[in-house]
């Protein structure tokens, strides 16, 4: 696992460059890939929050779809039932999700390791089931749509549209990244690392690790809620399947694929995996279904075995290889 301090400066610069590039190339993108990129940037926020939990605090959550889906529903409900404008709805989505994370976290964080993973998984599973059967409120597996309101910036109100969504997602991803960066390099970030490395010792050094873990879980819930709200806004649709397990799995995969504990990695992972899945499924669209998923499985296994630290560790490996030869 990379130490955040060492990559900090580099990450910042490359991030700013990437931001500028993303902002500039938007007009050049074909509409579909502009949409896909928007989606990816929203996923990236989700992955960021997840990395705080897994990469920096060492808590392997396996039910993050719970928080993501709840963010989606929080936003959609505000739209659907109260016809709220964009910002309040988003705020409420985030708050509600964070609150839920506090509750679930308070129970789950009592455990650690595999227990934590499985328990969070069961939580998300049961909530998925409940949402599936409470059709009048949630729409069950049919879900429901809503009219996406414009984003009001005070001086100007932006109509709902692909370009606006793109920059909205970009903006929030930038904010999320900067906030996460700040969190992990804050005193609290040190404590998170301490907990990841040696919970008991951290406790003996005067840190209430239980409380800290709950807070971290809430933080990652906050980002999940934000990304969920934006996702619901993007698709102006929610259904119970947003709670399904594959989402929890994929955020884990993004994180590991990109490089756990390096905020950039998970975002990168989200992008690559999403594009890869999309490409494969189109490549095999004339065959019987499932071929692309088989191939995805193979790729996952290969990457996980040969790149344990994710693709971000490639340059480092190359350097080490070079050093060995020299």
């Amino acid at each position: 696992m990379k130490r955040p301090t060492s990559t900090r400066g580099k990450a910042y610069i490359s991030f700013i460059v990437v931001m500028i590039i993303l902002a500039v190339i938007q007009p050049l993108l074909p509409p579909y890939y502009r949409f896909l990129l928007t989606e990816i940037m929203i996923y990236a926020i989700f992955a960021l929050g997840y990395d705080l939990l897994l990469g920096y605090t060492g808590l392997l959550s396996f039910g993050h779809s719970l928080l993501f889906g709840f963010g989606c529903y929080g936003f959609a409900w505000m739209m659907r039932f109260y016809g709220m404008p964009f910002w309040p709805a988003l705020a409420i989505a985030v708050i509600v999700t964070t609150a839920l994370a506090a509750g679930v976290g308070a129970v789950c964080v009592r455990t650690s390791g595999i227990y934590f993973a499985i328990i969070t998984f069961i939580f998300s599973f049961v909530l998925f089931y409940i949402f599936l059967s409470l059709v009048p409120i949630t729409g069950g597996d049919d879900g429901f749509t809503f009219i996406p309101p414009p984003v009001d910036l005070g001086f100007i109100s932006l109509e709902f549209g692909p370009v606006m969504l793109y920059y909205l997602a970009l903006f929030w991803m930038a904010v999320a990244y900067i906030v996460c960066r700040r969190i992990v390099s804050s005193p609290f970030g040190r404590v998170m690392l301490a907990i990841r490395e040696n919970d008991m010792r951290a406790r003996c050094l005067g840190y209430n690790t239980y409380g800290c873990k709950v807070v971290v879980f809430m933080m990652s819930g906050l980002f999940a809620g934000l990304s969920g709200g934006l996702f619901a806004y993007l698709n102006h649709f929610v259904n119970a399947h947003y709670f399904e397990m594959y989402r929890s799995l994929f955020v884990l995969i993004w994180t590991m694929f990109g490089g756990v504990g390096t905020l950039v990695g998970p975002m990168l992972g989200a992008g690559i995996i999403t594009l890869l899945t999309d490409y494969l499924s189109t490549l095999f669209r004339m065959q019987w279904g499932g071929v692309h998923l088989i191939i995805l499985g193979i790729i996952l296994i290969v990457i996980t075995i040969f790149l344990p630290k994710g693709i971000l560790s490639i340059p480092e490996r190359v350097r080490r290889r070079a050093k060995k030869e020299a």
Partner: protein, 290 residues
């Protein structure tokens, strides 16, 4: 109000189904306990067992024959995956989760191709064509038989674990890897064996339900959820806990299905889980935690 006969048969079914769930979960429990691998592909092994058994019945028409064959095939499969893939990531919980998930994708969707099994669901004709008729209610003969078989498997497994040298190694490895390997036992070998047994048991469980529940390529997911529930309530890697938890889960499902709505059954399961978490964070008989 529900008739007493219904409740009685519900309880009986809870027991039988509980036994099947236990057989499913035991494999996972072993693997989790010794190798600390959360086997996301466990459900797929169970599904594969069902598919194998289905084809055996198709070709030979003999369900009993399919039990040992499913066992053997899945054992070999387990061996392959362990040696080929898992041993590269052993000891790293997160990576094993991703790798086993990859495995489950591969297994599930390979079975899913029309040339292998396809998307349809099949059932094999009931190999035990009689029902157990008591004066006040009847119960399926086949379920009873599969319950008995499940018990047999349990007993066999326990004998293996507690009476043979190999079983001793497995249990030793579960409590303290370092010590065990220090005693000159090849922990790698033990792991392989454990994984093989674990998947083989899942396979037999699959063969057991072929006639009760239909075979299709998605049956694995549900089984996985049950296995997780059982393992977590029972306490990771604890055989005793797994058995008890298996019965609890099956009973809540069975009776909850009869007396309440399934929604409530699920809610109750969750509350049991939370209660256990709060009062016994290591599960009923947890043997190891962090």
């Amino acid at each position: 109000m529900v008739a007493s006969a219904v409740i009685a048969s519900g309880i009986l079914n809870g027991v039988v189904w509980g036994l099947i769930i236990i057989v499913i979960s035991l494999g996972m429990c072993l693997i989790l306990g010794l190798m600390e691998i959360v086997n996301m592909a466990h459900g797929e092994f169970y599904m594969a067992g069902a598919v194998v058994s289905f084809y055996i019945v198709q070709w030979t028409g003999n369900w009993w024959l399919s039990l040992p064959i499913a066992f053997a095939v899945l054992a070999v499969m387990g061996l392959g995956w362990e040696r080929g893939v898992l041993k590269h990531v052993e000891g790293d919980v997160i990576r094993t989760i991703i790798v086993t998930f990859g495995m489950s994708l591969i297994i599930m969707y390979t079975a899913h191709l029309n040339i292998v099994f396809g998307a349809t669901s099949y059932r094999i004709p009931n190999p035990v064509p009689f029902n157990i008729v008591l004066p006040w209610f009847t119960y399926s003969g086949f379920r009873t038989v599969s319950g008995i078989i499940a018990v047999a498997i349990l007993v066999a497994l326990l004998l293996f674990l507690f009476k043979t040298k190999f079983g001793l190694w497995i249990r030793a490895g579960r409590t303290d890897k370092e010590m065990t390997s220090a005693m000159g036992i090849d922990i790698g070998k033990v792991s392989v064996a454990t994984f093989m047994i674990g998947s083989a048991i899942a396979g037999i469980a699959g063969a057991l339900v072929v006639s009760v529940a239909a075979v299709n390529t998605y049956m694995g997911m549900e089984a996985l959820v049950y296995a997780f529930l059982v393992v977590i309530i029972g306490g990771l890697g604890s055989l005793k806990g797994t058995v008890i938890a298996g019965f609890i889960v099956a009973m809540v499902d069975s009776l909850g299905g009869i007396l309440l709505t399934p929604l409530w059954a699920k809610v109750i399961l969750l509350s049991i889980l939370i209660a256990i978490l709060v009062f016994r964070p290591k599960g009923i008989y947890g043997v190891w935690g962090e």
